[in-house]
Subunit: 465 residues, 2 copies
């Protein structure tokens, strides 16, 4: 009668298969409106299946409103169900982009997780799973897991010298989420966000996606030129004072004080993104701007670099006046973080394993930095300058006289080299054309020299006349 | 000299304590601009600490730009650092809201996790931790963990009868995140989103937060009156066809076909939120709207009800033309999901444990539903009606002649009863004033009758004259 093929597979019952097949025939117009269906007995015989199977399929069609059944009358197909299926094109899938591998890869923001204490962490994850109460598995709180907020508070005091109460700390799924919510929360109609120039692309994309205005403030080797914010009506200002991204400067105390004075007077908030200040190789750690004013500075931290990126845990420290709005927005953004990672991380921190691990990787990154620096001087000679190399997982290589613009990215990649010019991060183009940014967190120490050599050869061949 | 108290604590070195103390004195104006600091030898003696400790603290102050040191001249405090500290008010914290407990709690959307196979799940989490490669801990992909996308594809086919390719499935941290991103992605300037009325509050809040216009389309017992969308210029339409929230109707096939015809003609996308159709107690599962058009329908699913809410895993099925934009927006929203839960869930599904667990809890919820229904009829008699009780974790209780508006929420809560009137979910008020919504997923079966009795007594005393 109809073209129905049923398979005696295990996972989908025959009745459902029949239901799907008939539904498709109706939508395709092969069984038309008003048409009477055969009796269940007849169809069962025709398909060599049991009558109850057919009845089940008919019941499903009735439930979903494809057919109507009235006592004493044959079951009929309802009106208005035909959908032109020619419309549904065969969906084509582009071949998955094959992930290019690079002979020299200086991408930034890629931590090395090879010496992360996996065994210990796995144990803590398991214990966290075991220990959680049933209520912890429910919707337990948009602010975050209490013990983790407590541990972060203590850790901020130990590692950063700032006093933030646990109830002012709000867990996020990373710095990016924190920035998104802060931008949404702080935006005032028509008032731009102050950003650094050059700037972290994440915040720029967030502002662009939200169609929000921004004011790019020039950065020099020390960081943002804070006095340029004077007399501006701003929604908020985004800064990276501990290690300016991408330049690497530490914002000096007097600019910090200026920034805070302006924030108080002009009533804007300062978003402090502390993305990698754990990794400082020269001198003592830098204290956050937050320590100078905990009412105007919103401190954003992340564990993507100190733990591992796929953990997805970060946090923001907020003053009480902003907290209710934050919780409201987070609730309707994605409700809360998953619980297990939070519980395991709290225990990892309580046992001081994070402190220990950070010390350990700091030494590892320090060694990579040393090898990279030496290798650069060896290849490029003494004419080049390194900027912002005192901390973090990247620094800037300045080669006076050369010109690197956005097209450098594609050109170098076609030669198997991944490296970004500072111009890529500039809002106002043209001021930093002799600078490249070298990320080294993920590099294998034995391959650094080879990578630098690859970069050097590429540049000599293509950029030095 | 200055009022500096150092403690020989373990966790913060003396040099850092000294640095913090001096920094505070400078910011407070107690050490003023241009003032010469004592020699390190002198200060060390004064504080009874080693000279190297003082030198370290001075170095930190130099690094952060609080003081300058020139050879042959005393170290001096820089200009412009004084910040008025009277400005910083003591931050008051409101007492944490004590979570009220209710004698009768009919809150919706609360699954019962008491029989979730915790032991098995913990084992899978641990194995997932062990099995992951180092590269899985990095930024591994915004689309989601491949094996999980594969398992969801198969599960959708087994459980929902829809064919979705793994590469069209995008993992999210729950349905709320999916709705947020879809709204951001689909919004067209000035064109409203179609929503059901009454409607799920999540989508309404998302639209309100984004200051996006919406058009509320009336819903009857069967679901959205699709023909009202005719000739409207829409950004997209949000529907809950499997179990209309809050009403509970199953959208009939002809309205489904109408909706899809309009979506094709008027070129809008349909967001299908399938939030609880796993739990169907009467007849067969309902197939998603997605099965009728995989180009116009964007299917949103979640594991918050079938697993547990704090898992934070959901997904959306997207046609290829929307995928690049989705990945871009997700990258700048929160990058990706955490990895471990994705890996463990993939294995849980591969072993068919999800299928088994859903069957098991469906029986449990079915029993709760039976007891609740009987109890209601016993207390309220035969004049009341139950709507949308064939599936899900809630249904509607209609008591003809009574009037429940938004103020009912506060009144009932002050009597220890949590129950929401349908009016609470209505955009256009006044049409559903005789209906209450009863969530029962989380209720203990032995306490259901008591809860219903509490509700009945409250209503008889306060609402029946």
């Amino acid at each position: 009668m109809w073209d129905i093929v049923l398979q005696r597979k295990k996972e989908i019952s025959l009745s459902r298969q029949l239901f799907y097949a008939m539904k498709k025939l109706i939508l395709d117009g092969k069984i038309t409106a008003g048409e009477a269906l055969p009796s269940s007995r007849w169809l069962a015989e025709d398909l060599s299946i049991s009558r109850s199977t057919v009845c089940e399929a008919y019941d499903m069609l009735i439930t979903e409103g494809f057919i109507v059944s009235r006592q004493g009358a044959p079951t009929r197909v309802k009106d208005g169900l035909y959908l032109d299926q020619s419309h549904t094109k065969a969906i084509s899938h582009e071949a998955e982009q094959s992930a290019q591998t690079f002979a020299a890869d200086f991408k930034t923001g890629q931590p090395d997780v090879s010496c992360f204490p996996r065994y210990l962490w796995n144990q803590l994850m398991y214990k966290a799973c075991e220990k959680l109460q049933d209520r912890d598995l429910g919707y337990f709180g948009t602010a975050g897991y209490e013990p983790l907020r407590e541990e972060i508070s203590q850790w901020l005091f130990r590692e950063r010298g700032i006093s933030a109460l646990p109830q002012d700390i709000f867990i996020t799924t990373g710095a990016t989420q924190a920035l998104n919510l802060l931008v949404q929360m702080l935006s005032k109609k028509g008032q731009p966000f102050g950003v650094e120039d050059p700037c972290h692309l994440g915040i720029l994309e967030i502002l662009k996606n939200g169609e929000l205005p921004f004011m790019a403030v020039a950065v020099d080797e020390n960081g943002i030129k804070a006095e340029q914010l004077k007399n501006q009506c701003l929604s908020a200002v985004y800064v990276t004072p501990a290690h300016q991204f991408p330049f690497g400067g530490i914002l000096p105390a007097e600019r910090r004080a200026t920034l805070i004075r302006l924030a108080r007077k002009q009533e804007f908030y300062i978003i402090e993104d502390d993305y990698d200040s754990e990794f400082r190789y020269v001198g003592a750690p830098v204290t956050p701007l937050y320590s100078m004013d905990c009412e105007r500075v919103l401190y954003v931290g992340t564990f993507s670099k100190t733990m591992y990126p796929a953990l997805r845990v970060g946090f923001v420290v907020l003053p009480p006046p902003l907290q209710a709005k934050w919780l409201y927005l987070r609730k309707y953004l994605d409700v809360q973080n998953p619980i297990i990672e939070q519980a395991a991380l709290a225990e990892f921190m309580r046992q001081r394993k994070l402190d220990k691990y950070v010390q350990q990787v700091r030494r590892m990154y320090g060694e990579k930095r040393r090898v990279l620096t030496e290798s650069i001087l060896q290849c490029f000679g003494n004419d080049v300058r390194l900027l912002g190399d005192e901390s973090g997982l990247h620094f800037v290589l300045q080669i006076p006289g050369l010109y690197f613009a956005d097209n450098f990215i594609a050109e170098s990649q076609s030669h198997g080299i991944r490296v970004y010019p500072i111009e890529h991060y500039c809002v106002t183009k043209g001021s930093h054309t002799d600078k490249l940014m070298l990320g080294y967190g993920h590099l294998h120490v034995d391959k650094i020299h080879e990578s630098v050599l690859g970069l050097y050869n590429f540049i000599t061949k293509n950029y030095i006349k």
